[in-house]
Structures are given as C-alpha cells and as structure tokens.
C-alpha cells in the first residue's frame, strides 16, 4: 500500500523528473514527507512565484518539462503570474498545487482557493484530482499535454486527502486514456508545402520571420539549412533569438518595436514573408496594415488558432516547424536560390544602419552586453528580466545557439529573470548562466538571493542600474513630456544586500572596469553580483512608437532616410 503522495513521487520519477522547485505548506505536507527521502532534488525557493519561474527557466534551457510545487490557497495563487508567463511563451511546465480535502472543497475552508478555476484562462489545461486512483494517470496526462503540440503549462490540484489516502499501486488507473480532443498535427500538408515552394520560387524578395516556435520545435538546424538553401534572409522575434546564429550572414537580427532597422526595412519591402513558429504579436508587427504590406504570407505553426488570427495568410501550414522545414528542404530544388539583388540590398541596409553604440567613455549598458558576449564568446545562457535591460541584451548579445536566451516575451513579466536563471542553471549545470537585470526588475524577486546563497547556485547577476524603471521612464520621456511619474527609484546598495546573504559582488561605475569586473564575476565559483551604474537616461533605440508602422522608427542610426543606395 502507498499513499497518494507516494504515488505522485513515483509517477514523477517514472516520467524522469529530477528536480522540483517548491515551497511547503499544510496541504502539501504529505508530498514533502515523501520528498524527505526521495531521490528527486527539491529546491526551496523564497516565494512560490520564483518556483514557477525557475521551473519555466529549467524547461526553456533544457527543452524538458519543468515542475513546481506549492501549497493550497496563497501558495497556489502565487503561482498564477508565473503560469501565465509560461502560457504566453508556450513553455512546458507542470504545476502541482495542494488543495483542501475533497470534503471541504467549496466551503471556503482555510487556505482554499479554486485554483483550477483561477488558472483556467492561463493554462493549456488543468486538473483537480478527486480520486487517488486517477492520480498516476493524471500526472502522465499532464506531462503529455504540457510537453507536446504547442507546449504549455498544466496544473494539477491535489486535495490533501487524495495525498494521504492509501492504495495498492495495482489498483491505480495508469494508462493515459485516448485523448479524443487532443491530436496535435505534426506533419505539414503536402499540397500546402508544394504551394509554399512554388511561391518561394516565384518571389524576388523573400524574408523569413522566425519565432520562439522554431526553438520549441528544436528546428533551428532546419531553419538555417532552409534559409541557406534558398538564400533567404532571416529575422527573428525576441523569442526566436538563437534560432540562427547572430553572426550568420543571412541573419538580420530581431524585428519589431526594438528590432534592427535592416530587419524592419526588409519586412516592409519584402514580397514574400515566411513566418515560422511566430504569432504576429503587436510588438513585432507595429501597425498591422504597414507590416509586410506587399508580401504574400506563408505561415507555419503547430497551433492552427495562430494562423489567420492577426493577419490574413496566403498559405497556412499547420504542423511541427522542424518536420515541415525538413520536408521543404527535401522537396525544394537546389539551384533555385533567391537572392542576389535582394540579399545585396539587405546587406547594404545592414552595413549602413547598424545598431547604435556610443563610444564616449561613459558607462553604457550596450557596452556591458557586448563585452559580456565577447568574453563568453557568444555562448553561455543569458537570462533577462523585462524592460530596457532585456532589449539591450536582445539587441547586443551575439547568440550562437537556441535555448541560450531566456526571457519573458508574451507576458513581459518583471521578476521572471532571476528565478528563471536559477532554473536554467540546474538544467545546464556546466554552462555559465548570466542574469541581465534592471534595478527595478531585480527588486521584484530579490528575495531569491536567499535561494542562490543556500545552494551556492553559480548564477552571475548583472544589474544595469539606472535608478529608474527604465523602459517606463523612456516612454514617459518620449510620449509624456518627461513627466517621470513614479518611475525613479532610490539608490540601493545591491552589493551590500548580496553581502548580507554571503554573496560576493561589486559596484561598477566606470566604463574602464567593465571587462575586468565581468571576467572576475565569471571566474568566481558560485554566485556573483555586479551592480553597473549606467547612464541614467539611456534609451533603447531604434524604437517603433506604439501604433506606427515598423519602418517608422525613431532613434535610427544616422539619417532619417533609408539610404537605399
């Protein structure tokens, strides 16, 4: 005989779970009692929100399902923003929550919340297990749903009596039932693929717009081969960074609100747009009528609901990006390469309109990111918070590989980065994991210094400190006549706070110290905090103002004209 909690732990082990990020409480004590001697690692975070972000960071860095655990009521509710983050970015996370005993459900018992009701809109699916016999099957079902098709978070709510009830493991329902309503499509329709290939051959100015779906599908290799085969320039969304190496000759960098000028020009001028695992988010498209206005559009996505949602598409192809690209590579005819005039034009834009960096001896955030990229040779795992720090990292780090860039895209979740970095470090213990944070976002989950200190997690924390909520301040500067309403932050002694946790750190105030301080942090065993006091009113440029077309950028490189010649 085994308790429900024991069954749960056995089921997780069977599914290959090695690590859980969690926080204990009354309703999940039976699980914690089992964890006391289980050979699953448990990381005690300092806030449940960090548990779900860490599981998310683990999943993004490893490609596997991340697992977090919280108690009922307040613990479960603290997971919500993290679950929503995973949902918006299609990250496979299984969230386990405690619940009051089934007989008390719905009675407003102590620490009760209807967490399945609360999380219905922000999960891919969720379960309330009312019968211990269902437990093993539900866990399997949850992992299957989270980790296949368009991936996403799944929550399992576990009433305390289900966890304590004893059952003979042979009496469990263990097979996942046929999920009649869940049949993801992986293979692209051959006719659609043929039509797409025809359109590619007819086009003169094609561009690929690749999103996070390429990385989720593990399709980066196919993307690069496909782009090379037809010689098509590639621009990626922020979520797609790393899908093609930054220095690849066909890579145009990021597009959209803070994309490169050349990516946005290429999108505006192209006659064929091939969207792969991307969802035409408003931060990418700008004003939708001005987005690829003259282009036919091929849209490859595993989620049929994304196709035609924001923009009309000529050729939809539903399926797995890797399989579809592999099919296209196989069926496409070599020697039909595109390019020449078009790729020459694109290269010219890239040469004439590079990302701006200022070389005036002052401490600029772009220089910090570029130097970091140089020191790590474009490798390592870069996790960002949300805001200016995120955009500078996205623009200036030269990513070489997928799953190297971890950032909250869809939800734009401040406080995500630090705990996600913890998860990423456990997913890939041999990599350098560097957190890029702002002083505002770092303070959103600063309590996780406790977790980092307790387990000596070697995350390097790079704070780009301008004593502002920088991105909001930038918008106030540009669109609200510099009325900096509640966006300035007082000076904080981050190094002192780190020291209180026993973590070494350094405040950096001069551009001359960037390289040395970064090297010192990276060479130090264990965690290290760097507090870079950057130029206070530095902006992220170029920028497409909300509601403008993506070629209507402000803060462009040299001139206001496109400099086509």
């Amino acid at each position: 005989m085994k308790t429900g909690a024991g069954i749960l732990i056995d089921s997780l082990k069977e599914l290959g779970v090695e690590i859980i990020f969690g926080y204990p409480g009354g309703a999940v004590l039976p699980i914690y009692d089992e964890l006391y001697e289980a050979d699953i690692k448990h990381i005690l975070v300092r806030h449940e929100q960090a548990a779900v972000h860490a599981a998310d960071g683990y999943a993004r860095a490893s490609g596997r399902v991340g697992v977090c655990l919280s108690t009922s009521g307040p613990g479960a509710c603290n997971l919500v923003s993290g679950i929503a983050t995973a949902n918006m970015d299609s990250v496979p996370v299984v969230a386990l929550t405690g619940q009051v005993p089934t007989e008390m459900l719905g009675n407003d018992a102590f620490q009760e919340s209807d967490i399945t009701g609360i999380t219905m809109p922000v999960t891919k699916h969720n379960f309330l297990v009312k019968d211990v016999k269902e437990l093993k099957r539900t866990v399997k079902e949850a992992f299957l749903i989270a980790g296949t098709g368009r991936k996403g978070p799944v929550l399992i709510d576990l009433p305390k009596d289900v966890l304590t009830e004893k059952i003979n493991p042979e009496d469990l329902y263990s097979d996942v039932p046929d999920l009649k309503g869940y049949k993801p499509t992986y293979k692209g329709h051959p006719n659609q693929i043929k039509k797409a290939l025809d359109l590619i051959n007819e086009s003169k100015k094609p561009v690929i717009y690749a999103g996070g779906g390429v990385i989720a599908a593990g399709a980066s290799g196919e993307l690069v081969r496909f782009a090379e085969m037809f010689e098509i320039p590639v621009t990626t969304t922020m979520m797609g960074l790393g899908a093609i190496p930054a220095k690849h000759p066909l890579n145009l960098g990021m597009l959209g609100m803070h994309g490169t000028e050349y990516a946005n020009y290429a999108i505006t001028e192209c006659d064929l747009l091939i969207a792969i695992g991307a969802r035409f988010d408003d931060r990418v498209t700008g004003k939708i009528e001005h987005f690829a206005p003259d282009a036919n559009i091929i849209h490859i996505d595993i989620d049929p609901a994304e196709i035609g949602k924001n923009i009309a598409v000529n050729i939809p192809i539903v399926g797995d990006a890797g399989q579809i690209l592999a099919d296209m590579i196989e069926r496409g005819k070599p020697g039909e390469q595109k390019g020449t005039e078009w790729t020459k034009q694109v290269h010219k834009w890239r040469e004439n309109h590079p990302l701006k960096i200022i070389d005036d001896g002052k401490l600029h955030p772009q220089s910090v990111i570029r130097k970091l990229s140089e020191i790590l040779n474009g490798e390592g795992i870069i996790v960002s918070e949300v805001g200016q720090n995120q955009m500078w990292a996205a623009q200036h780090y030269s990513f070489k590989n997928p799953r190297q860039w971890i950032s909250s895209g869809g939800l734009g979740m401040m406080g995500f980065g630090f705990p996600a970095a913890i998860g990423a470090q456990y997913a890939r213990p041999n990599e350098h994991v560097v957190l890029i944070a702002g002083d505002g976002s770092f303070q959103m989950n600063i309590q996780e210094l406790g977790t980092v200190a307790q387990y000596r997690i070697p995350v390097k924390m790079v704070i780009l400190n301008n004593m502002y909520l920088g991105m909001v301040r930038q918008w106030q500067e540009l669109f609200y006549e510099k009325r900096y309403s509640y966006t300035d932050l007082p000076e904080v002694d981050f190094v002192g706070i780190a020291r209180a946790y026993g973590i070494p750190g350094r405040k950096v105030e001069s551009a001359d110290d960037i390289e040395e301080s970064l090297r010192k942090a990276i060479e130090t065993d264990g965690p290290y905090l760097l507090d870079f006091r950057i130029e206070r009113e530095e902006n992220v440029f170029p920028m497409v103002p909300a509601g403008a077309g993506i070629s209507e950028m402000i803060g462009k490189h040299e001139t206001d004209d496109k400099g086509d010649d």
């Binding site: 219905m120 749903i145 309503g181 049929p304 949602k309």
Partner: protein
C-alpha cells in the same frame, strides 16, 4: 456579420462548460445562445452555440474551441443542411373569458401547447426556430407576458451526415 450555429462535441467532465463559456468571454466573443446536455454516448456532451460574427471571427472561435483539450469536434452546422429548434415557455396573463380563448387559438396556430392553466395565467410551450418563437412572443405580448424562458437553440445536421461520438 452573420449568425452561426456551432455543434461542439465535448467530453462529459466537470468544468468543461466553464472552459467553453470562459473562452468566449475572455476572447471577446459573444454567445447568443448556448444549450448543453448529454448525448448518445454517456461520456460525452453536445453543446450547441449560436454566435455572431464575420467569417474570420467565427473561424477564430472554432479554432480556439478546438484548442481545448476536452473539445472533441467542432462543426459549423450553419454551413450544412440542418434542423434547429428552440423551446420556450411563456407565462402570459389570461383572464378567464375572451383573452384566454384568443391565447389558446394563437397557441393552436403555432402548434404550441398550453401546459399550465392558472386563475389568471396560462403557460404556453412552443418549439421551433427563433423566428417562430419571436412571432408567438410578439402576438402574446399585448396580453402581458409575465415570464418567459428559452432553452437556446439545439441543432443537428440533416440526413445521414453525422458528427458521431464513436469515432
């Protein structure tokens, strides 16, 4: 902008209706009517949803519904030959005398039934498409409708063509 009738076959589990209706509200889709009940297979239910919108809108509704794990099949019944019915119960003021006999005549014409007779009221049961129900409602209004309840449309495709639960 047109009205569509969607037949949605779902697994018969608790919370499914909340998922379906919640999806409509949070994505800004408007439900005009929704009727739900178990169907020929006890582990499934059939939901009939009437929703308005242009083609893109309806397409998006269908796709989003299909994303729900417990939704097995979504069929746009409007596009096919179908039968659609709604049931309404109408409580109407009917003093004994002239009014009462007039109401009974109207009910007869609409092939509606009188299912309750009170001292001063009648309850009329009427089945049909939305237009028929609107028509009888309009005719009964002058007598004073005190309560009215409608089930929402239920619909099936005509003939052999089915959306079966055993596939």
């Amino acid at each position: 902008m047109s009205q569509h009738i969607l037949g949605v076959l779902v697994e018969n589990r608790s919370g499914v209706l909340a998922r379906v209706s919640g999806l409509f509200s949070r994505r800004g889709f408007n439900i005009e009517s929704l009727a739900v009940g178990t169907c020929e297979s006890p582990d499934m239910s059939r939901i009939t949803i009437v929703a308005g919108g242009d083609d893109l809108h309806i397409e998006q509704i269908k796709k989003q519904l299909n994303k729900l794990i417990e939704v097995i099949k979504v069929t746009d019944i409007t596009e096919r030959s179908h039968v659609a019915r709604e049931l309404a119960l109408i409580k109407v003021n009917a003093d004994p005398g002239q009014a009462r006999s007039e109401i009974m005549q109207i009910a007869g014409i609409f092939r509606a039934k009188i299912i309750d007779v009170g001292q001063k009221t009648l309850v009329v049961e009427v089945t049909g498409d939305c237009e028929k129900i609107r028509a009888i409602e309009d005719l009964l209004k002058p007598y004073g409708i005190t309560e009215l309840v409608r089930t929402g449309v239920v619909a099936l495709q005509r003939g052999e063509s089915t959306n079966p639960t055993n596939k």
